[in-house]
Subunit: 258 residues, 2 copies
């Protein structure tokens, strides 16, 4: 089986234009089939402020009312996604921008309102791989923004980490799938105040220990849960670190293992 | 050869949600390969006002500075395009949203700054049909917003009527292409104050006469020039009218003929 890389970039890479440009230039050089998934960064929050739309976060997740959904759709699927696609094209990477609505690639359902009503937030139900595979075989690179749909005409805000893991899982029977979560840190840190204290390998067993001993900070838990969920569902490799981990073996990063 | 319908909808259809929803429900029922092209409507102007970005129009065309380009990208490629795609999906039409940057489908070049500097406005250079044809054969329906790219990383604002005619022309050697410009009027009017005075057929010859005698108002000239340009480049059929012309033979509309 061929290898398919699914690479997710977070807010901190998107927020700084020079960092994003540099990443995209490197990303374009990655050979073989690949899919990029991007979050939203601070742009959506700053547009919401300009438009006097309140931003409410609970447990690190945005409450998505109708106005917020419009803002997210404009910023994620419009401005960020299309600029990424145009830049990748300039580097010879034949990118195609996607939300889950496009080609019905990712269908989700609105999150139950109990215990917390997150508004127009969607949990992934099904990733349709056929169209994406057609594009990958055509040497196109799908670029996903973190928006899905419910199949009934409603767009839904969906966590980008989750989209990346669900896409990786969906392709795990047709490709050897590798999932890379790129952010500003070199990986999961043993000590958040020490950027160098990267935990290079976490297994399901050591994950439990690290959780129990409080070493892993709360914000990392959903990301790591996504990682182990992917591993349990036949994703071959899952790594967390800076984008450099994609291009050199000399950069520390965290590798997750079953 | 199979028939391919390229259907462009203008601002007035997009601006009213009930009208747009009703159109999309009908559009989904059109059999055979089809491509939808949409303009932007008033949403971009109203967002610009909310963000205190000046909107300058010269000869009916928007001057696109960097801030305006961001707004257009957010509104056209984000909010409008993705909501259209989600609604079409709900009606069983497997839509995929596009700008010209996606898949490098429409490359343009920045319009010469003389005599008027339109800013980030692009004139179409090349429509790449291969990816679109792959999607059409896969029973997908491409949905284009009026944004293209220059291949060097820059998004450009491009007239939606022009996108529709250029796409129709590009496919004219592989399909019998039919081009439909849908707007709020029944067609080109002999008397703008009389909605019923539709000119049912305009040929290149009668077009000259209608221009010379001042019957056709200035705003219609670019649209009609696009129509005749398409006809001269092997597009089989070009019509202007309300969306109803697509679904019934009993609605008056204007048909252009070489």
């Amino acid at each position: 089986m061929k290898t398919l890389k699914i690479i997710k970039i977070g807010g901190n890479i998107i927020d700084t234009e020079a960092v994003l440009s540099s990443f995209l230039k490197d990303f374009a050089t990655i050979e073989g089939p690949k899919i990029l998934v991007h979050g939203g960064g601070k742009l959506a929050t700053s547009l919401a402020q300009q438009l006097n739309v309140d931003v409410t976060m609970i447990e690190g997740r945005r409450i998505t009312n109708a106005e917020t959904l419009d803002i997210i759709t404009m910023v994620y699927a419009g401005k960020i996604n299309k600029n990424i696609v145009a830049k990748l094209q300039a580097h010879g990477c034949n990118a195609v921008g996607f939300t889950g609505a496009d080609g019905n690639t990712i269908r989700s359902e609105i999150r139950p309102v109990i215990p917390i009503d997150y508004g127009f937030a969607g949990d992934v139900v099904k990733v349709e791989t056929a169209l994406l595979e057609l594009l990958l075989n055509n040497k196109n690179t799908p670029v996903f923004s973190a928006i899905t749909h419910d199949g009934k005409g409603q767009l839904l805000n969906t966590n980008a980490d989750t989209i990346a893991s669900e896409v990786a899982i969906a392709f795990a029977s047709t490709y050897v799938t590798e999932l890379y979560y790129c952010f500003e840190k070199q990986g999961v840190l043993r000590d958040v105040t020490d950027a160098d204290s990267v935990i290079e390998t976490i297994t399901s067993m050591t994950y439990q220990e690290l959780k129990n001993s409080g070493v892993i900070v709360a914000g990392m838990l959903p990301k790591l849960d996504n990682c182990f969920y992917a591993l349990q569902n036949k994703v071959a490799k899952v790594c967390i670190g800076t984008p450099e981990m994609l291009f050199t073996t000399e950069t520390k990063h965290t590798t997750l293992q079953k």
